[in-house]
Structure formats: structure tokens, C-alpha cells
């Protein structure tokens, strides 16, 4: 399956060749959010939104065509 991925803020550095952290990404079927993050080698704690729905869990499954946004948890600033 293929998802549309957007990494926010400092997370863009996990996709150095992308256009501002945006890319299409192929994943194995039945991949979860946790699988995606480990593929991206993101170690810090992040928040993930799928198709605009925020506060998704790490164990949630992704499906073909999903729009996935990954945020840091910085909330002050």
C-alpha cells in the first residue's frame, strides 16, 4: 500500500530528500503507525494524525491512500 506522508517541523530531517517533509511512501500491508515510525527511525515521542483525525494510537493500522501527518509534541513556544 501507499500512503501520503507529511512530517511536521523538525521531523522533516527524517526525510532529508523530501520536499519539506512531504512524500508518498510504500508500506507493507497491515502496517501500523508504530511500523511506520520505526521505518522512519523516529525515536522521539510524536503525535500522529490520519486523514485529519488526531490522537491516533501506535497500534492503529494504516491503509492504502491514507494521509498521515506526524507532529512533535512541543506545545509551548
Amino acid at each position: 500500500m501507499q500512503i501520503n506522508l507529511e512530517l511536521m517541523g523538525p521531523l522533516v530531517d527524517y526525510l532529508p530528500d523530501s520536499e519539506c517533509g512531504q512524500t508518498k511512501m510504500s508500506l507493507n500491508d497491515e502496517s501500523t503507525i508504530a511500523d511506520l515510525l520505526s521505518l522512519l527511525k523516529i525515536k522521539q515521542r510524536v503525535a500522529v494524525a490520519v486523514n485529519g483525525e488526531q490522537e491516533k494510537e501506535m497500534k492503529d493500522l494504516l491503509k492504502d491512500g491514507d494521509n498521515v501527518m506526524v507532529f512533535t509534541n512541543v506545545s509551548g513556544g
Binding site: 511536521m8 523538525p10 507532529f71 512533535t72 509551548g76
Partner: protein
């Protein structure tokens, strides 16, 4: 004597030119820890009810904390407290850089300033000595020029200067204190208070490095910080700085736009923080931003400060005036519908040159722009300047006119609430102020417990006085450490979220009393959690504080601020949010249609009061609460307070 602090507090009476050094007992430091709480001790003791914020009788306290100046990330912060000319409530403001650490090295933990000098002076603190010197030749200079002159005059490039710019001299109600020409104690008009006293600057230099009680543990804590930069994401935060939250805020519908009428800005990509890093930070042409485009505070490994430089054109900017934070990008940018990054960089530099709070300045201009859009203001009022949303040129021009109190700038220099009173015509409908202070760039419609804190916070709307809603769920282990174990759903405004608001507010209040950085120490995403904050305090001082004791210091400080307002007769009636947040649903983006429900909100406010043990009718702290925090003296010594607190 325990370590970490100098044990010396300087009292300055500018009217008489008198300087007295006080050496309080250890218990005093342990009770207040420094920063805001320590400053409030003197403000409450030495001012009377109804004091005019810009009179000689107002007291301005500039305070470091017990760990300031030790070589670990996030400790070099200074807190200023005094009655605020912007709000008429207590004023309180934090700032970082190298000044706070250097002030400690100069031999003083805090400076308590009252009176008014007959002529402009600066205060020179060096190696335990203090003197007042003539500053007539510095009056009227921008911060950068004044700092250069002082370095020349004192023949020392390593002095640090905390000063007012021309805006402080002109008593702009939200004038800031500026150090390094780019760090600000921005909020609540502390620069105007200093200006009203004819005090241009405090200049510090010294070699009295604070001693550390337990150097081995301290070293371990330093190492832990460096080793955990990546795991906590603080390396990325340092690289891209606070501006990196701009696009994420927009995506969740939380980027205040068009004076808070929308949570999304269709040109957000233009004012994005990663873009700022890649295309504007000094050194970006050679990919050397990390070397030339980032700056730090004393001993901080995170280095989150921006350095920008524009060599030519209308928005020419010198690197010494730094670069915009997220708040500045939002207030001068999306609040005003402005998408030119260079204009924002210039407006930020003007605020640093003249010494003004970027949040209130940008938000006040945004308010005027909404008044214009609604036909309540015209070129006749503004002297021909078209305050139309998106007009970057007008935004920059108005910023300078405010600093100089020229034309329409003279009215906006009072802040939006007072400007609305002067202009009338129903312009108060468009205010986004709490207690007269303009709301920072986090939206109560989206972060609802934060909205309650905006309303109840004694010095007006503030985004660094509690943890933001989403963190409760995102950081369960760190939350558990401060007794928060029941995370709630997004947008919840129930009792548990009020407990979250209050407990994290107490922690942030302790952080402002220790006077440390809330990006480094905090209950959630910060580099060091609350557990490590306890360890740092103990390693430096040799005390044995636990988290309960720190939270109590925070609660003590919050009640001191609150008692100051109670003494002024300010209570529940002032604990409100701008009307538009209830009446006018947001337009567009993920928060389209969001508005607050008045009944639900008032109920939450009452839950919060009950948790704080404040009177639900009046909002004043109860006598029992004050006494339990060792603050019985505040009530006993203040006639006006004893009449309202029971």
C-alpha cells in the same frame, strides 16, 4: 550556607540614590527560591493598594533563582515583577540569555528597585559592588547603540546589559526589558516601569561563579541532558526553534489568524519555521546556519534562538537584533494576515531595538486591522496608513510609530484595550485581551484548559503558565510523577482537566520562581522532567526538596500574584476570555466552527476555583489557603486585602 545563590539582595532607592544590601536567611530562599515568588515578597511588602504603575512608588523586582549561573541547560533566566501599566494588575515577565547568569556572577541574586531618579542613570553591578552612574548620554539610544556605548565606556566587552529602549523611555505600556539587544522580558510592560524611574539599564559583570553542593550528581545531570537531546526531540527543537510549531499549529486549526477569527492561515507555508531556517537564518547561503544562525543562553546545549540578517531593502535588519520566535511570527504574521517573512523579521528587530513586547505589539496592530475591516477605523484616524489585513508595509510602519509614540502609534502604544476605550465605536468587540493583555498564539477554542489559565492567570493571558492540553495524554509517565493519571479526550473541559490546569500551573509557577527555562524543565515534552528539576535544585543547593515542596512554592507564588490583584479589588469579574471566543465561531481549517460554550466554561472556572481553594463568588484566595502557604503576613499587612479575603 547552602550553595547556588549569593545570599545578597540589592535594594535601590532611585529617588535618594541609596543602595542597601540585604542578606536574607536560608529559610527565605527555600520559601521563595527566587524569580517571581521572591520578587513578589518585596512587591507585596513595599507597595500599597492602588499604587500607580508608572509612579516612583511602584516597585520593580529583577530576580534570578537559586540555580541561575550554574553550568547546566536552561538556568539563565531573570524574572521581572511590578504592577503592570498595561493591565493595572500584577505584571510578571521572564527573559533569558547571558544577563541572568552574569548578574549572579556580579554578586547579587536580585535587585529591588523603587523611587525615581531625578535624571537618567544606569545601575552598575560588578563583583559584589553596586553604583549608580549617569545615563544622560544613553537616553534616546536604541538598545544596540546603548549596549555598544556601555561596552566602550566600561572598557569591557563581556558586560551584560538589561535595558529599556526608546519605547520604555516613551512609556509605551508594553515596553520590554531587553538584554543582548535581542532577548526580552517582554510581557506586561516592565520596560515602561523601568523607564518611569529614569533607569536606563542594569549593567552586570563579575567572577563570582556560584558553588555547587553536589558536583558529582550535577555532572551526571549535565550528561543526562546531552545524552537525551535526541530522544526528547530537543535537538530538532534547538535547530528549528519555536518557529517550527507554526505549520503544525496551522494544520490542527490552532494558528490564530486575522485577529483570532480563524485557526488557519492560507499562507502559513510562507511563515513556516523550517522555511525560516532554510532560507533566512544567518549563514543559510552556505548551509552554515548551525554556526551563524543559532544562538543560545548561558550554558544551554539546546541553542533554540534565531539569528537573522537582511542586508538591503525596506526590511534591512542587523543580526544583533536576533530573529523571530513563533509568537512573533504569529502575531505580526497570521494575526495580521501578513505572509512576508522579511517584514516579520523587521518588525521583530524594531521591537528589540526600541524595546517592546512583540506579542502585544503585533496583536494590537491585528486588532486595529480588524477594526479597519469592520469599518470602525479609517485613514482619518491612522494618518493615512491603510491598516488592511495583509499590509506588511503598514504593519512595520505602525510598529515603529508605536515605539516612538507618533501619530496613531501613540494610541496603540497603550495596548488594544485602552485604545478601544479611547476610540469607542464598539471596537472593544474585537479585543482578544484577558485582563487587558493580548492573547498569545495558542487558541482557547482548541486548547480549552489553557483557555481557563489565560483567564485566571493574574498577569493576563499567558501561554507559559501551564502545560497545554494535548500533553496530558502524550506524556503519561511524566504526568504521573506530578499526580496526573487520568488523561482526558481532546477539547474536554471537565474537572480532571481543571486539575491538570492547576497542577501544571503550580509547576510552571515553581519554574518561574526558580527562574528556569520552561523549554528545558517542565511536566511533559521538555528536556528535563519535573523529577530532574528536583534533582538539579538539590544538586546545586544541597537541600532535600521533593516535588511536593516545589509545587508548593509554585502555589505560593500564584497566590501572591493573585493576592496582589485582590488588593486592587480585582477578582472573578476579570477572569474572562474575550467575548468573540464565545460568540464568533472560528472559520476554516480543522477548527472550523469552534466556539466556547459559556455555561460549560463558567462551570469549569468554578471547578478550578474550588480546586485552588479560592472563593467561587469573588475569585479571591481564601484566608485559610493563604495561611497554609505561609502567606498570612500578606493579608495581615495589607488592610485592603484583609477586607476582601476571608
Amino acid at each position: 550556607m547552602p550553595k547556588g545563590y549569593t545570599g545578597k539582595i540589592l535594594h535601590v532607592n532611585l529617588t535618594q540614590g541609596e543602595l542597601i544590601i540585604e542578606e536574607p536567611e536560608e529559610q527565605f530562599y527555600r520559601t521563595y527560591m527566587g524569580g517571581s515568588a521572591l520578587g513578589m515578597h518585596y512587591v507585596l511588602k513595599e507597595t500599597s493598594a492602588g499604587v500607580d504603575a508608572l509612579s516612583p512608588e511602584n516597585v520593580l523586582a529583577l530576580c534570578t533563582g537559586v540555580v541561575t549561573g550554574t553550568p547546566i541547560s536552561g538556568q539563565s533566566r531573570l524574572t521581572a515583577v511590578a504592577k503592570s501599566p498595561l493591565t493595572g494588575c500584577i505584571g510578571d515577565s521572564q527573559g533569558g540569555g547571558f544577563f541572568p547568569a552574569q548578574m549572579k556572577f556580579s554578586g547579587f541574586d536580585a535587585v529591588i528597585i523603587k523611587g525615581k531618579s531625578p535624571k537618567p542613570v544606569f545601575l552598575w553591578l560588578h563583583n559584589g559592588e553596586a553604583e549608580l552612574r549617569d545615563a544622560a548620554h544613553l537616553w534616546g539610544l536604541t538598545t544596540g547603540d546603548a549596549e555598544d556605548k556601555l561596552k566602550e565606556e566600561l572598557d569591557d566587552k563581556r558586560i551584560e546589559v538589561l535595558q529599556i529602549g526608546p519605547a520604555g523611555e516613551n512609556l509605551v505600556n508594553y515596553a520590554a526589558l531587553i538584554s543582548m539587544s535581542n532577548r526580552a522580558n517582554g510581557r506586561t510592560g516592565m520596560g515602561a516601569v523601568m523607564g518611569s524611574k529614569n533607569l536606563k539599564a542594569v549593567v552586570v559583570r563579575g567572577k563570582q561563579k556560584p558553588e555547587i553542593a553536589d558536583p558529582d550528581t550535577f555532572k551526571e545531570l549535565q550528561k543526562w541532558g546531552t545524552a537525551n537531546l535526541e530522544a526528547t526531540g530537543m535537538d530538532g527543537f534547538g535547530k528549528y526553534g519555536t518557529p517550527s510549531v507554526t505549520t503544525p499549529q496551522d494544520k490542527v486549526g490552532g494558528l490564530p489568524t486575522y485577529n483570532f477569527n480563524s485557526g488557519t492561515f492560507d499562507q502559513a507555508a510562507e511563515i513556516d519555521g523550517v522555511k525560516l531556517y532554510k532560507e533566512r537564518l544567518r549563514g543559510h547561503e552556505r548551509d552554515e546556519q548551525n554556526r551563524f544562525g543559532r544562538d543560545t543562553c548561558f550554558s544551554c546545549t539546546v541553542k533554540c534562538k534565531r539569528v537573522t540578517q537582511i542586508d538591503e531593502g525596506p526590511y534591512k535588519t542587523e543580526a544583533k537584533y536576533g530573529g523571530p520566535e513563533y509568537e512573533t511570527i504569529a502575531t505580526f504574521g497570521s494575526y495580521c494576515g501578513v505572509s512576508e517573512m522579511d517584514a516579520i523579521i523587521r518588525a521583530n528587530a524594531l521591537c528589540n531595538m526600541y524595546g517592546m513586547d512583540t506579542i502585544t505589539c503585533g496583536a494590537t496592530i491585528a486588532w486595529a486591522m480588524e477594526c479597519w475591516a469592520e469599518g470602525k477605523l479609517s485613514a482619518e484616524d491612522t494618518g493615512g496608513i491603510e491598516l488592511v489585513y495583509g499590509n506588511a508595509e503598514a504593519m512595520v510602519q505602525m510598529t515603529e510609530m508605536i515605539a516612538k509614540c507618533e501619530g496613531f502609534g501613540k494610541i496603540l502604544a497603550k495596548g488594544s484595550r485602552k485604545a478601544a476605550e479611547i476610540i469607542g465605536r464598539g471596537t472593544e468587540e474585537y479585543l482578544i485581551t484577558c485582563k487587558g493583555q493580548e492573547a498569545p498564539a495558542h487558541m482557547p477554542q482548541v486548547k480549552r484548559s489553557l483557555g481557563i489559565v489565560y483567564a485566571v492567570n493574574p498577569f493576563g493571558a499567558d501561554h507559559e503558565s501551564s502545560e497545554h492540553d494535548g500533553s496530558y495524554k502524550a506524556f503519561p509517565e511524566r504526568m504521573e510523577y506530578i499526580g496526573l493519571t487520568k488523561p482526558q479526550e481532546k477539547l474536554a473541559l471537565n474537572k480532571e482537566m481543571m486539575r491538570f490546569a492547576m497542577v501544571t500551573q503550580h509547576l510552571f509557577s515553581a519554574i518561574d520562581s526558580l527562574s528556569v527555562c520552561s523549554f528545558i524543565y517542565g511536566p511533559a515534552w521538555q528536556l528535563y522532567g519535573a523529577d530532574k528539576l528536583v534533582e538539579v535544585v538539590n544538586a546545586v543547593t544541597g537541600w532535600d526538596v521533593d516535588i511536593e515542596e516545589l509545587l508548593e512554592v509554585g502555589e505560593r507564588r500564584l497566590n501572591m500574584l493573585r493576592a496582589f490583584n485582590s488588593r486592587e479589588g480585582i477578582g472573578r469579574e476579570s477572569d474572562t476570555l474575550p467575548k468573540k471566543m464565545f460568540k464568533r465561531p472560528l472559520e476554516g481549517g480543522r477548527s472550523d466552527g469552534y466556539a466556547l460554550d459559556e455555561e460549560e466554561w463558567e462551570r469549569a472556572l468554578e471547578d478550578y476555583y474550588r480546586l485552588c481553594e479560592w472563593d467561587v463568588e469573588t475569585g479571591h484566595p481564601s484566608l485559610k489557603k493563604m495561611e497554609s502557604l505561609g502567606l498570612g503576613w500578606v493579608v495581615a499587612e495589607n488592610e485592603a486585602l484583609s477586607q476582601v479575603v476571608s
